[in-house]
Amino acid sequence: MPVIAHVEGVLNAAPKPVICLDTCDILEVVQCLDWEKSGGNTPRSVSCIEPVRRLLNTLTANPNRAQLIITDLVHTEWSQNIAGICTKAEEFINKIDDIVARPYQAAGFTGTLLPIYPPLAGSTLVADLVALSTALLNQATRLVLDDALIDLALARDGEASAFPRRPHQGLDQL
């Protein structure tokens, strides 16, 4: 993993746009398969997926078009959370299947012909979204987040509480 000075040198030698990603940017690709609020009935928007696919397509065809950057903390947070998010996405899909089953039950009593609905739970959707999220994660350069940089960031006026936590302090809060 490079330190920030190394990445700075590389970018100075061959400048290109830098895109800094937070953990949520990468997790959201899977996390979007959930309800907007716990117990609510509004599905989250899935509009985050298309730009990720477009970004990866662009970097696939032209790797020097931009530099994706994450801190090591982002990688750790992603690894810690992805399994739980997959479970929630699968629960969301199961719920949708359950909801769709109701009108089919009703149709059974009325003789209404409905188009075949293959259960979503049998699809590879969640696994495919995890693959996309993983591809985005792996596309990014991971920066070493040393204590000096963390202290520098935490010392910024008015932003201490909003800044990402120290890895050893903050990860258990997730």
Binding site: T42, N57, T58, T60, S123, A127
Partner: protein, 312 residues
């Protein structure tokens, strides 16, 4: 991204090996089937022909050999006119051209063999990009990349294609068009010209005589406000817009706007204010009134949320 719905062209295609066919969007499927039945025209439907974003995007109505193409086209023209009339109040969404090739495993395998062969139509295979593309796709997904300086836009571009569906050998679709030079992204018109080029100069010649279907279609692009709204909220928005005095909002207009805000709040809809403002302007509201309405919307949602919090 979804397929454009009721306003997509309805045309009998005669390039199929199994006889003429019609490609329809999900919204067109039922009215077309009903009209064909009413006219005594026999057909079969493959309504899983193309799945986009996991949902049915296009269906193929097989008419069979010996079908009276002119008669069917007449029926389709009537359905198209009817749908156009019903859809008049719908907003036309921005679209871009997409391309899907679909067929039985055997012919699709033959197509892939042809794609592996010599360059056609000036398109060059880019295997290094394909290798990188595969690392970003689910395991065992088919991936192709072809590049060309497309005359219509005078830019070198890469077209990425990937397999979809079970075993993903039965469907191949364009998944991206990326410029290989310059920092400027392709606009929709340039994107469409690239798709037109690769369709005409690579996919169509290689697909000829194979019995596979090359399905060009228009897909909605960008976030559509309609997709963020429940049918109730959309109805209230359309009712508001249909009768509003757009240049000089009346108090009754604001009551209808409040009804839309209440419904959106009730649905817990998450609406991008910029999207809402753009929708209003495109629907004929002057920008100052669009801004006013969006401010009203944001303020209304905030107050309703605070009220909800207090009652908890």
């Amino acid at each position: 991204m979804t397929t454009s719905a009721s306003d997509a062209p309805l045309t009998v295609s005669t390039d199929g090996s199994a006889g003429p066919y019609v490609i329809v969007t999900p919204e067109q499927l039922r009215p077309v089937m009903e009209a064909l039945r009413a006219d005594g025209i026999r057909f079969q439907v493959d309504d899983e022909a193309v799945l986009l974003n996991g949902a049915q995007a296009l269906a193929v109505i097989e008419l069979g050999r010996g079908a009276d193409v002119g008669r069917v086209q007449g029926v389709l023209d009537r359905v198209a006119a009817d749908l156009k009339g019903k859809g008049r109040r719908r907003r036309r969404l921005a679209t871009q051209k997409m391309l899907v090739v679909w067929g039985d495993p055997g012919p699709m395998q033959q197509l892939r063999t042809r794609l592996d062969g010599e360059a056609v139509g000036g398109w060059a295979r880019q295997r290094d990009i394909e290798t990188r593309l595969r690392t970003t796709l689910p395991e065992r997904t088919l991936a192709y990349c072809f590049s060309k300086r497309v005359p219509a836009i005078n830019r070198q571009v890469a077209v990425l294609m990937q397999g979809r569906g079970e075993g993903n050998g039965e469907e191949l679709s364009v998944s991206g068009v990326v410029p290989l030079e310059g920092r400027q992204a392709l606009d929709r018109d340039q994107h469409d010209k690239v798709i037109t080029d690769i369709h005409a100069s690579l996919i169509e010649p290689l697909s000829r005589d194979l019995g596979v279907r090359v399905l060009p279609y228009d897909a909605h692009v960008g976030s559509a406000l309609e997709e963020a709204l429940s049918s109730e909220a959309l109805t209230r928005l359309l009712e508001f817009s249909a009768v509003a005095n757009k240049s000089n909002l009346h108090s009754l207009d604001m009551q209808r706007w409040s009804a839309f805000i209440r419904q959106a709040h009730h649905d817990e809809a998450v609406i991008d204010p910029t999207l809402l403002a753009t929708w209003l302007v495109e629907d004929g509201f002057p920008s100052r009134n669009s801004e006013l309405l969006v401010q009203e919307y944001e303020s209304g949602r905030r107050i309703l949320s605070e009220y909800d919090e207090e009652r908890r």
